[in-house]
């Protein structure tokens, strides 16, 4: 039964990283749905979450919970600043311009992080100890439970917000029809800012909960961002369950592939999935619809 246990192990750890990809993917989807922009800097918010927590906790000696809260706050501020300074002035520009701006933003954030904290990788301490929990022969770190728990909370809060609160519904309205939203009095500019705020906060949270398991450094944003994007694409850029499913799928497939086939190509697996989805079904696996030719 060893293979079974191994596969279970891979699936469990895959679900864990998948949850992170789901959170990052939701961040992409939320911004995309209110602005039609893909925020290339999303991965950097994830990186900032982990790195800032490290800074506050280890360098400044603050307690872990406080460090986490501060990290999320600062990252959210960075996200809001980014929107105000670089996105808002250019929202009517060609898509290429916006893509380049967000790429520029992501490089800038990454560069500043490197200057402040160097290129080393660091480990954040686990939230509740290093003793693995054995489940049906597969080992799970308590951190994984934290990941599942927090992800679940965030996703539920997300759903409640977007479907049951006025602001949330207003944001969804913006994503469906910006002009109509303006006409009924929704402040679209504020909604856009808000979407950046939510996405950067979620990204930071994702970065914080995964950091104890996978080490963090100034350039983790690129890979995590891309994989989160992959999750969002699979989910059809939906701010809901589709993206969550997408994240879990990517996480599990990546984990299985790395374990069963080859660990060196682990990162390549997610990107191959990304390419395949973009080539074959760019509208995602869960959305029905016809693609226009033009």
């Amino acid at each position: 039964m060893e293979l079974f246990e191994q596969i279970l192990q891979y699936i469990l750890s895959g679900l864990s990283t998948g949850a992170i990809y789901a959170l990052i993917g939701l961040g992409f989807a939320i911004i995309y749905n209110s602005t039609s922009i893909i925020n290339f800097a999303q991965g950097e918010f994830v990186m900032l979450g982990g790195m800032l927590t490290l800074f506050f906790h280890i360098t400044l000696g603050l307690s872990l919970p406080l460090a986490i809260i501060l990290a999320v706050v600062v990252t959210t501020a960075v996200g809001a600043l980014f929107e105000r300074l670089a996105i808002s002035p250019l929202k009517d520009a060609e898509p290429i311009i916006l893509i380049i701006i967000t790429i520029g933003g992501s490089i800038l954030i990454r560069g500043v992080a490197m200057l402040l904290w160097g290129k080393d990788t660091h480990a954040l301490p686990m939230f509740s100890g290093n003793e693995p929990i054995i489940l049906m022969g597969a080992a799970m770190m308590p951190q994984n439970l934290w990941i599942f728990g927090i992800t679940l909370i965030i996703i539920t809060a997300n759903r409640l917000f977007f479907h049951h609160s006025i602001s949330g519904k207003a944001m969804r309205a913006c994503s469906f029809n910006r002009t109509a939203s303006r006409l009924v009095g929704i402040d679209v500019k504020r909604m856009i800012l808000f979407s950046f705020v939510i996405s950067s906060a979620m990204g930071a949270a994702a970065g914080i909960i995964i950091a104890p398991l996978t080490m963090t450094s100034y350039d983790v944003g690129i890979m995590l961002g891309l994989k989160g994007f992959c999750a969002a694409i699979i989910g059809g850029m939906s701010s809901g369950m589709g993206t969550v499913a997408g994240g879990l799928i990517v996480g599990v497939l990546e984990s299985l592939g790395a374990g069963l086939i080859s660990s060196g190509y682990k990162d390549a697996i997610a990107f191959i999935i990304l390419l395949l989805i973009l080539f074959i079904r760019p509208q995602g696996l869960f959305i029905k619809g016809e693609a226009e030719r033009v």
Binding site: E292, R293, V294
Partner: protein, 250 residues
């Protein structure tokens, strides 16, 4: 020349067109009118290969062209203009028309990169033809202006000149008078008549009734995705169904 047979188009839950059929005769100007949202532009998009119909067929000179992509239709002599003018904004007025001559030229990548003599000869020819089309549309003096800087009315004329450069057999104009003042509309009417007189079939989607009644020899009325009526301008003006559709009951 163009036969539209039972075209139906359903977008998700919305039926944009339902069983629309009519013909466009060669060498004539046919108008397609109807209240907003009637499905006229959707019809154009289907005929010109931008959408596929849910069902139905389009025949062009006897050939079934349903589902043919736009670039193929251009080579078969069908060209169109857009409601919102799709100019090549960053290129000059002259260059815009030169792109219209793409199908009339053949220099490939290698010949262009190496500037072979045949390519140079062809470039000269393209430029000459393009200038004559600008003269045809009456905007030759604007040749070196950036297209994005054109006033709206001139932009419309450019789009038509560019389409004419394809040397089409049929040209479909999507609301060419939208946004034009009365003088510009009169110039437009003259230009369209000039096009028809050179033997080209014209189909026009329009809201400007005066223009339609003046230049079209035949009119098709579409309302809520159905063909409401078809006939000469006179017949349409007197058709009760049409009057009701535009003005409401009573």
């Amino acid at each position: 020349m163009l036969k539209i047979e039972s075209i139906t188009k359903i977008f998700g839950g919305l039926t944009a067109l339902q069983g629309v059929s009519f013909s466009i005769a060669a060498g004539e100007i046919t108008g397609i009118i109807g209240p907003n949202g009637a499905g006229k532009t959707t019809l154009f998009n289907i005929v010109t290969g931008i959408y596929d119909p849910t069902s139905g067929k389009v025949y062009y000179g006897g050939t079934d062209i349903t589902g043919f992509p736009p670039e193929k239709l251009a080579r078969l002599g069908m060209v169109r203009t857009f409601q919102g003018i799709e100019l090549f904004g960053q290129m000059t007025v002259l260059e815009n028309v030169m792109v219209g001559l793409h199908t009339k030229s053949r220099s490939g990548i290698i010949a262009s990169a190496l500037k072979l003599p045949a390519h140079l000869r062809e470039e000269r020819h393209i430029r000459e033809r393009a200038i004559s089309w600008l003269e045809f549309a009456g905007i030759a003096e604007l040749a070196h202006m950036k297209a994005a800087n054109l006033p709206f009315g001139k932009g419309r004329l450019l789009e038509i000149a560019r389409a004419m450069a394809v040397e089409p057999q049929i040209i479909l104009l999507d609301e060419p008078a939208a946004g034009l003042n009365s003088r510009e509309t009169a110039d437009l009417a003259t230009l369209i008549m000039k096009i028809k007189d050179s033997g080209i079939t014209v189909a026009v989607v329009e809201h400007d009734m005066e223009l339609v009644m003046e230049i079209c020899s035949r009119i098709v009325v579409i309302n809520l995705g159905h063909k409401l009526a078809e006939g000469t301008p006179r017949e349409i003006q007197e058709d009760e169904k049409v009057i009701t559709a535009y003005l409401g009951e009573g």
